[in-house]
Amino acid sequence: MNTTTAQIFWWVALPYFALGVFVVGHVWRWRYDQFGWTSRSTQLQERRRLKWGAPLFHYGTFAAIAGHVIGVLIPQSWTKAIGIPESGYRWFSAAAGTVAAVLVIGGIVILATRRLFVPRVRATTAPIDYVALTLLLIIVFTGIAPTIGINLLGGGYDYRTSVAPWFRGLFSGSPDVQAIAHAPVIYQVHATAAWLIWAIWPFSRLVHAWSYPVWYLWRPYIVFRSRVASHPNEPGTGGRKWRKIGVPY
């Protein structure tokens, strides 16, 4: 079967473009905008909904990421090699995936309604936040629908023989375009939205994910630092620490 230009665009060009933007964007953001590198918490403005939404979403996402590592990054042959039967994997994947899905969807619904309908929170929302939120919603819903609809309740679809090899192929330089091109549409939308969020990641508040401060566990409590002479800002990089008075968000 011939690979069309459109297929090349969606399943080869777009992923590599997104990966490139992801890497270069992070380098740029780290060099020029560490001041903007924050979780932009709105707990100060609203805590009642955040109390449920944020832990549900974050812990659910951790579970979902772990699921993707198992299901997409680890080849089927490996799990078979250690003696896990396909039915066993399916059962675990559908069950654990559903638990994660419920957590994530509960969390993101609370967080999204909070962001859209609580005026104090909405006022802190930048355009890039809406883009990220929209993509996240697409990813979550197109991720959960097959997990529950196809793999838990339906006949099941073996994404480990189609989507996963294509994804891994991107990193080994030989993506299996036909595999993803003939996967169900919902997987295609899920993958495309995921690549897009990789592309906007470095420019959004999502960068805070890389700053989860695990090293706090080993650090001494009290941090001392010497008063070192700091260089002035690099010319042309702005170096703005605090926004000017009267400037809107």
Binding site: W28, R29, Y32, Q34, F35, G36, W37, T38, S39, R40, S41, Q43, L44, Q45, R47, L50, K51, P55, Y59, P119, R120, R122, A123, T124, A126, P127, I128, P202, F203, S204, R205, H208, S211, Y212, P213, V214, Y216, L217, Y221, I222, V223, F224, R225, S226, R227, V228, A229, H231, P232, N233, P235, G236, T237, G238, G239, R240, W242, R243, I245, G246
Partner: protein, 550 residues
């Protein structure tokens, strides 16, 4: 012994008139920006009162500061490291903006635009958070001067155990002012709470700061500080706090709050302390022993051994000399009239307070009151309008003995001066009865009443020789005016001046953005000035710092 230096402040509450000048000047300098409307690095609270944010002193609710665990080890009251990481998505101990008060402004434009002749227009209150109309509910100083005290003052956590005695009735009410800044603690729980390691204590002068580039907005410092003196900038998503005006301190100048204090009640100076003793002192089993324990951490700069050790630990000579003249050391250690605010939080705070004297509350029934000797307030210390127990809850974890001792000493200073002025007889045993000599009480009087600018603020300038060298290097490469918004903004120094065309032709040059611009230098004002204004629709160069997350 590991000697370190810490700049510190003492405030004489006897002199505070609650004018809020310190708060206003501090705000103008540091927090006059969007996102920090509600932030007061310095605020003045009326006591008794709930404080700012509301009831911040109730650590059973907010769980700031340190506590001893069952084995007597020092632990953050809000829990250990793992708990902090697990609650990072939702911090259960964080106050909301409503505990501070929704910051607001007014719709002045309506007033300005009102047509002539209409009834008086009114300006609505507008929330600074949302830009929408709002009803003002609460803010800083809503209980200033005991406003609404019958309703609010009972919420003062320091009144616990005193409810029987303190009644918010006009005849019996008492009040005084408590100006508060960051305590720049020796054992700062905000620094310990910061998962990112963005908060730090400067090893030279002990000032506690937030590295704005490293802060990731996890907001554990806000809840970790028992004094609630770390604030969350709701626009930048970063923590900010009192900086002890470090650029001024580095230049040997007092902080803005001290400089502008109308009552001249603030003193600034150095403490030398033994860094090895800090944790043991903070882990003192008895809360009421924490005051003495902290005194034990401080080192006597008159002791030659201490001076030698300080020099060996790299403290510059002029700093050691400044420590010898430090007014805060005199007040806190030598005269022992200054006390730490809430030592029971175990952070070893470095902004100390001289508790206020007050009139005798109930002259008729005061035990020991002698109408012939109105200055003999010793016997009546317990009948002063401000209950000793209340001050003890603020400054000594509830132990009234140090408060009585300080108030007696302050009363003795007054009695001696009064006797001197009026030619009255004085009990010769008076100085000894407060554990001081004549000379010491005279020194204390001078320090409290007369001390001039140079004596109140003994601040050795930072040693920035190395910084100067770095700056010099840098300036050879770049224009120092080339800061954001500065006169050199946007250009790349001399390299951006690239003359085009032949000499004598219209003076244009190729600017950094690639456009050909007209050079106004040498322009007669007549004739054409091509390229002076950008073409219609042309977009200026994009500033990379404004991209991404706005």
């Amino acid at each position: 012994m590991r000697v370190m230096a810490n700049v510190a402040m003492v405030m004489n509450l006897d002199k505070c008139i609650g004018c809020h000048t310190c708060s206003v000047t501090c705000k103008q300098v540091w927090t006059n920006r969007p996102g920090t409307e509600y932030v007061y690095f310095n605020n003045v609270e009326t006591k008794p009162g709930v404080g700012y944010p509301r009831r911040y002193e109730d650590q059973e609710q907010w769980r700031g500061g340190w506590a001893l665990d069952k084995k007597g080890r020092l632990q953050l009251k809000a829990g250990g490291r793992l708990r902090k990481l697990l609650t990072i998505f939702y911090n259960p101990d964080l106050p909301t903006i409503d505990d501070y008060g929704d910051p607001w402004t007014y719709d002045y434009q309506t007033v300005i635009d009102a047509p002539l002749g209409t009834p008086n227009p009114s300006a609505h209150s507008i929330s600074a958070l949302t830009g929408r109309d709002m009803t003002v509910q609460w803010g800083s100083n809503f209980d200033d001067d005991l406003a609404g005290a019958p309703r609010h003052a009972a919420g003062d956590p320091n009144l616990s155990g005193l409810e029987e005695r303190v009644r918010m009735e006009f005849e019996q009410v008492f009040m005084f002012y408590l100006p508060r800044i960051c305590e720049h603690c020796l054992n700062p729980s905000c620094v310990a709470s910061c998962p990112s390691g963005a908060m730090y204590k400067r090893s030279e002068d002990g000032i506690v700061l937030v590295d704005q580039d490293r802060c990731r907005g996890w907001r554990m410092c806000v809840s970790g500080c028992p004094y609630k003196k770390v604030y969350f900038n709701h626009r930048t998503g970063k923590a900010e706090k009192c900086t002890f005006c470090f650029p001024r301190i580095e230049a040997g100048q007092p902080t803005v709050c001290s400089e502008t204090c109308v009552g001249r009640l603030r003193y600034l100076g150095l403490f030398l302390y033994d860094a090895d003793k800090v944790l043991d002192a903070a882990a003192t089993p008895d809360e009421q022993g924490l005051y003495e324990a902290q005194l034990g951490v401080f080192l006597d700069p008159e002791d030659p051994e201490v001076r030698a050790a300080a020099a060996a630990d790299g403290i510059p000579h002029d700093w050691i000399e400044a420590a010898r003249r430090s007014p805060v050391y005199q007040l806190a250690v030598r005269h022992r009239v200054a006390l730490p605010l809430h030592p029971e939080y175990r952070t070893l705070p470095m902004v100390w307070y001289i508790p206020p004297l007050s009139p005798v509350a109930d002259v008729v029934n005061a035990t020991g009151y002698d109408a012939d000797r109105p200055d003999d307030v010793f016997a009546t210390i317990d009948s002063l309008r401000i209950p000793v127990e209340y001050l003890a809850n603020l400054f000594t974890a509830g132990d009234p003995a140090p408060i009585r001792r300080v108030l007696r000493k302050l009363a003795a200073v007054r009695a001696i001066q009064r006797a001197g002025q009026l030619g009255l007889d004085l009990d010769e045993d008076l100085p000894a009865s407060v554990g001081a000599s004549d000379e010491e009480l005279d020194d204390l009087y001078r320090l409290l009443a007369i001390a001039k600018y140079e004596e109140r603020y003994v601040i050795p300038p930072a040693h920035a020789e190395e910084a100067g060298r770095l700056m010099g290097q840098h300036e050879q490469l770049f224009c120092s005016l080339d800061t954001d918004g500065g006169p050199g903004m946007g250009g790349h120094g001399i390299s951006s001046y690239r003359p085009t065309g032949t000499p004598g032709s219209p003076q244009t040059f190729e600017a950094e953005d690639g456009r050909t611009r007209f050079n106004l230098l040498g322009w007669s004002g007549k004739g054409q000035a091509p390229g002076l204004f950008p073409d219609r629709g042309a977009v200026s160069a994009h500033d990379p710092a404004e991209g991404g997350l706005a």
